[in-house]
Symmetry: C2
Subunit: 209 residues, 2 copies
DNA sequence: CGATATATTGATCATGCGATCAATAAGGTG
DNA sequence: CACCTTATTGATCGCATGATCAATATATCG
């Protein structure tokens, strides 16, 4: 067996150790969901004792909330960077939808779904979920507004359209957690719906590489 | 305090007791979510010992799956009955959307959200979720097909449209679990989106009583 | 080099979970 | 009424959770 003989963890500065613990929590959440983010799971991941994890965190509720925010904010950053390289609103919107529904995001989706559920009993998590929802809606809304101004999008209310699209993305992804899901089928669903909602012709959001 | 002195539960037939336990599980799930469906919670609700609840159920996984199916199927039945009284496809679709997003369904929504999450580790539950999703999509698809035939709906693919709408309904409801939610705002979002997707004029799905 | 501050640990507690089983008591039957 | 089937229970096990704290070991500083 490869059961490593546990040796005492090297002494490190609080800042460094704290960052390691947050990172371990992030990995646990992505691999097994937010509900699996426990003192012991994080400790095992970080090569440390549960007591040390507890020592660095005020409470599990706060740790779960931080872990959620960390995961989602990081993905938002990455996607923002990816979108910056796209020429126009239609390409940006198409890339965004394809990225969010490409079928390789179940790990992040399960984090969202569990956050909605756990948020009912974890106020800090609920606040974090609200903030992240707003951030994503904001990104989407800006693209739509830009498209209305410069790419022929027809959206009388960009704010509402952004919520509608975000709702459908979240709903389809959540459903896909349990349903056998052909990613391309899901992608086609969201493309068709969004093209219809924004008055675009079919295929307008197709990503051409 | 009103802590009732526990007396031995009256002896009942297996069928009757089993039904009581299923009903108690249903109430627990609606009040506190699927994750709170435990032997002890059900037992307290049914006025019985945990051992008896265990005696009547093969496993908790199966009990949770049954509870989910019971709750969702019952709601589908009720809604079907309600829709039967509506004159045409537009009225049926409008009533369906208003019912699903009227802001008084958080108890059922939390059951759906937790079912998606728990379904990853409970095969019976996942199968049940799939079946119920199909049933709801079927109801929606039939209404859309009828609308295309007789009420001017423009949906080249009724099957896809039903999945799109169901995705948006589930997504918006799940988000509303954590977000302060003005129900009328959500209703307006979904009405607007669906009217756009089906080529209907604004207000076509408004429910007129 | 020795002293001090503190990062780290092992042990332990209280709680809640599903599950099991012998013991008990209630109801139906002869 | 007596018997016997079985619905119901209390006790208990093994496991996992978050939390706490005195004890220990290590890095840093004087």
């Amino acid at each position: 067996m490869s059961t490593p003989v546990r040796t005492r963890a090297a002494r490190k500065s609080p800042g460094e150790r704290s960052a390691e613990i947050v990172e371990a929590a992030r990995l646990v959440a992505l691999e097994q969901g937010l509900m699996a983010v426990t003192l012991r799971a994080i400790a095992a991941r970080a090569g440390v004792t549960p007591a040390l994890v507890a020592h660095y965190q005020p409470s599990m509720d706060a740790l779960v909330a931080d872990t959620f925010a960390h995961i989602v904010a990081e993905e938002l950053d990455e996607l923002s960077g990816l979108l910056a390289g796209r020429p126009g609103p239609a390409e940006r919107l198409g890339t965004l939808l394809d990225t969010l529904l490409d079928g390789t995001r179940d790990d992040v989706t399960i984090v969202w779904v569990e956050a909605w559920a756990l948020g009912r009993r974890n106020d800090a998590l609920a606040a974090s979920v609200r903030a992240q929802m707003d951030a994503w809606q904001d990104l989407l809304r800006r693209i739509i507004e830009e498209g209305v101004d410069h790419a022929g999008f027809r959206a009388p209310d960009a704010d509402a359209a952004a919520w509608q699209i975000l709702g459908m993305v979240d709903g389809l992804n959540a459903q896909a957690l349990v349903r056998w899901g052909d990613a391309s089928e899901r992608g086609s669903l969201i493309h068709g719906a969004v093209e219809g909602m924004l008055g675009l012709e079919r295929g307008a959001l197709a990503v051409r590489d």
